[in-house]
Symmetry: C2
Subunit: 146 residues, 2 copies
DNA sequence: AAGGTAGGTGAGAATCGTTGTCAAATTGGC
DNA sequence: GCCAATTTGACAACGATTCTCACCTACCTT
């Protein structure tokens, strides 16, 4: 699982005009931090973790890196109720999340049913180029037992 | 549609301990502003509208009122991509939104299919007390035609 | 290997939506 | 009217995120 040394965001294009994305120490560190977590974390939390680990990375850089990764769909991001952006490594396929409100435990869920429903609804109303956001929040088994 | 004069947030309880929610000019103004719009608006936009109308209401009050209304499920609220909270009057039943990214035109959609799916998924994973967020974004017919 | 350059970094300042403060104003019940 | 509880709003404070910009660094070109 942690086999590839591929640097997040790296684009192996050739010739002139290729957008270079450099595998810097900072980008590797952020990517590694994401691997260390199983649940969603904020940019600030990741920044703090790296600082503690002694691999300090500037806060601006952490923000930039996370956004770049999210834009490239290499990590998932969502917003907490308080409007804070949180990030998590994710599988490559389209999916949604079932998150424990109490401990943050996250389960990736797929929903062909929902995917079909969303396109159908959008079509009925004449909307095109449709995207959707769907997140489930609840209390996981562990947290339910006090 | 604009028949009732019921003040948003009003709770008609009796006896000692009843939490009074007063129908002030400010609260009426915010409620009226929401009726004037058909799509989602931010607290600041509503504040500006009221100011222009000459029914100026303090920004803090606008924020407070909108949040109170949203907490009471009397209006819908969601977050833009930039993290800003926007509000809209809504029907009383549980529903979701299909919003035009371009002009903001909003359609309320219901989805027994989705509701069923979410509880099923949550149950399968042992999550209880589940809630969900689901929003659809697309381009409406009008905006699609240039 | 040296140099050139586009891309990357980070400390600190700036944004900006939102929340907190608190004295003054308003409301509803008596 | 009178009063206690509630509400208001100008203004300060917050806090997450973004911007600035001088300094680095990876990497391509001689
Ligand atoms: Mn989906
Ligand atoms: Mn639903
Ligand atoms: Zn949990
Ligand atoms: Zn539109």
């Amino acid at each position: 699982m942690t086999s590839t040394d591929r640097v997040p965001g790296s684009v192996s294009e050739h010739g002139p005009g290729a957008t270079a994305v450099r595998p810097t120490r900072q980008r590797r560190a952020v990517a590694a931090a994401l691997e260390a977590f199983d649940d969603f974390r904020s940019a600030q939390e990741i920044h703090a973790l790296l600082r503690d680990r002694g691999e300090s990375v500037g806060l601006s850089t952490v923000y930039r890196t996370l956004q770049t990764l999210a834009d490239a769909d290499e990590i998932d991001s969502l917003r907490t109720e308080t409007g804070e952006s949180i990030y998590r490594r994710c599988s490559g396929t389209h999916h949604h999340h079932l998150v424990c409100r109490s401990c943050g435990a996250t389960v990736e869920v797929e929903g062909p049913t929902v995917e079909r429903w969303t396109s159908a609804i959008a079509g009925e109303h004449g909307y095109t180029d449709v995207s959707h956001t769907l997140e489930l929040f609840g209390t996981c088994r562990a947290c339910a037992g006090r």
